[in-house]
Symmetry: C2
Subunit: 444 residues, 2 copies
Amino acid sequence: MDILELITKKRDGKSFKKSEIKYIVDKLLDGDIPDYQIGALLMAIYLMGLTDEETEELTQQIKDSGTTLELKGIDRPIIDKHSTGGVGDKVSFLIGPVCASLGLAVPLSAGRTLGHTGGTIDKLESIPGVRTKLSSDEIERVLLECGFVIFSQSDEIAPVDGLLYSLRDATATVDSIPLIVSSILGKKLAVETDGIIFDVKFGSGSFIPEVARAKKLAQGLVDIANSCGRKANALLTSNNEPLGRFVGNSLEIYEVVKSLKGEIFKDNLWEVSLAVSSAMLFMGGIVKDIKRGKELIENSILSGKPLELLIKMVSTVGGDVSYLEQEEKLRERSKITTIKAHNEGFIVRIDSRIIGELVRNMGGGRMRTTDEIDPYVGVEFLKKCGDEVKVGDEIALVYHSDDFSIEKISSSFIKAIEISGDKFFPEKIVLSRYIGKNEWSSFD
Amino acid sequence: MDILELITKKRDGKSFKKSEIKYIVDKLLDGDIPDYQIGALLMAIYLMGLTDEETEELTQQIKDSGTTLELKGIDRPIIDKHSTGGVGDKVSFLIGPVCASLGLAVPLSAGRTLGHTGGTIDKLESIPGVRTKLSSDEIERVLLECGFVIFSQSDEIAPVDGLLYSLRDATATVDSIPLIVSSILGKKLAVETDGIIFDVKFGSGSFIPEVARAKKLAQGLVDIANSCGRKANALLTSNNEPLGRFVGNSLEIYEVVKSLKGEIFKDNLWEVSLAVSSAMLFMGGIVKDIKRGKELIENSILSGKPLELLIKMVSTVGGDVSYLEQEEKLRERSKITTIKAHNEGFIVRIDSRIIGELVRNMGGGRMRTTDEIDPYVGVEFLKKCGDEVKVGDEIALVYHSDDFSIEKISSSFIKAIEISGDKFFPEKIVLSRYIGKNEWSSFD
């Protein structure tokens, strides 16, 4: 067996044996494959695909390339959640404490921002003092004490994935369903849980905008997780419009605190959070009927317990909880530019991708992994899709640094927002749930 | 414009603009593309293809990456010939002096052996003293004095091709028609000639065994050469059986001398050499009817002029011509193992690839570009396809070193040679000639 032979095999559309996938991963880890061969192999895989059996084996090998997090001391049902990433996605900060308050243990490994979507770890770090690199023992202890924990992916978990990802990024082979599935699952399976809910996003803010491809990704994630012996469901949710009213690291934490204080808008953020937590509670056996989650969740938030748990979690990992107790501190430091309506009618589109790119360009995200982030920049929406506006009405507040060009902000908003005289027909936010074996169920 | 964008473009099946191909070649030459991106790009090109326009531009860019050989002092029609490579292919050594004796100037740039086929330069160098690295002035002078010249591809001609080829070789992307076409033509167009005859081989000894793919390569070579303003024709010739009676570096020169002395077998070597030289004489305007070449060529050989020219050419580049004058010196040094028939009937198959691989393994070829060659090892066929044999009849003599295993030789021959009771129906050696614009003509 040699790499050239395996490149040729995939190039010609043939399938790898398990031993061949193991060979590739081992050689990758040893640094034994020349870069040009890795590039050729990734492109051959991108264009010729991987079968489910190959994807499963690659997932296992990625998982087995590093350590696992066992969480043996936890006696609650342990349910994980993973989002494929969207603009304004602060769902983890809501479903973590809510599900914890209702009896689940929720260990959320998370990543940093790259591209136009935010990263949960960067958002968490906008609270001064927070540590996100936690040891296995620490993760287990926080989970025991708070019922949930958000922590950085450790370098010891699935190290080959980091290697592969950076090469995929540089060779235009990121956007391959089997490679995405094995990359996500290789890491997720390394954390021993009772099940995983995948929040697979479609729409302008998702890296997979097309519903059909997002469906394929959802199916891949659940089917391969199941064949690796892990319970899993996937929700297909829209990110055409940013989730909630705030986009930007500290602003999103601000919105989380407001929501957990009960100032909940019944908007797309709420719909997704409700669906995700219902699915988690159902999977963990806390509710026997997935539609019974809603009341439980609303009552839990009104009880104040989830906010307490969030504060406790942040405090346990060293964070300055005054930022949660006086949440205005999370949005008071920037220069503010107001965006007004140029014409009248209904807002029919707020393009997630354009808003996400604007926030990134203002310093809220990264162009390179080494870039520093400004946690305070972002956008607050005063109006959202479906709202009626008159000329001059305030639509959004943009929080930015003194030297960022107001022209760039305006031109982004001109492209991102569409106002039409026609009545707005709201899209379905949670499209459906994939429960495996080719079965989809709705949320209505 | 950046490379990642261009990889993505080709991955998605789109065509490059001329400026984009120039950008890629420039960056390659500057060493500015990371290896993993070259690997991914080559695989995307392999799997998604190149249009004729892209292939033409790549060819021009490969040509323009180095110097050109102008040959301004030559007043005869200058006709080049290129073979895609086959086992026992010593056609250059026959058609060079023959066409020179009939009024053409024939500058033959050539390469070394790699894989199972021989290399013209290695064959020439089996004559002690011969220099094959010639300066432009020297090439022109030898061409003026002898009418033909065989020389190594200079590193200054199309340098980007060498770079690309070694990377294609390591990434399983050699076997792509547009990449093969631009590689061959990029070098050939850098030598200013009035036209080129391509000898495109199919059959077991060719790197493209299938007739249909060999046809595509023939069309690609001629069409792209034409669109670059160069006259070209391609012959489709069989290499199912080794060409002629000898395979191996010095043994093939031996066969050339014998042939030019008039000891011509009317076999596949003769058929291909006749077709190639007729096509060259026709293209150069020496004969007005391609079928009139035969008599001229036979008479030329009988006159002894081509042998004189070969001796003169070899002498001019420093070779010891005693090896041509007493050609037995070219086959007297090795240990000889005789291969005999195990059953009776007609020889219906002598597999070129297996014979080529045997000769390479005996030391007549290379596994790596740095390997030394033993010029004296090889095979002499006493019988060829169509000959009738009885059990125990001698079929071939194998010239090898003392330490090469006789078992390996026997087992190669058992696989390579098929004897059948049925009468043998000879295959057509020169299948057809491609003259451009989708027109094929036969040689009958």
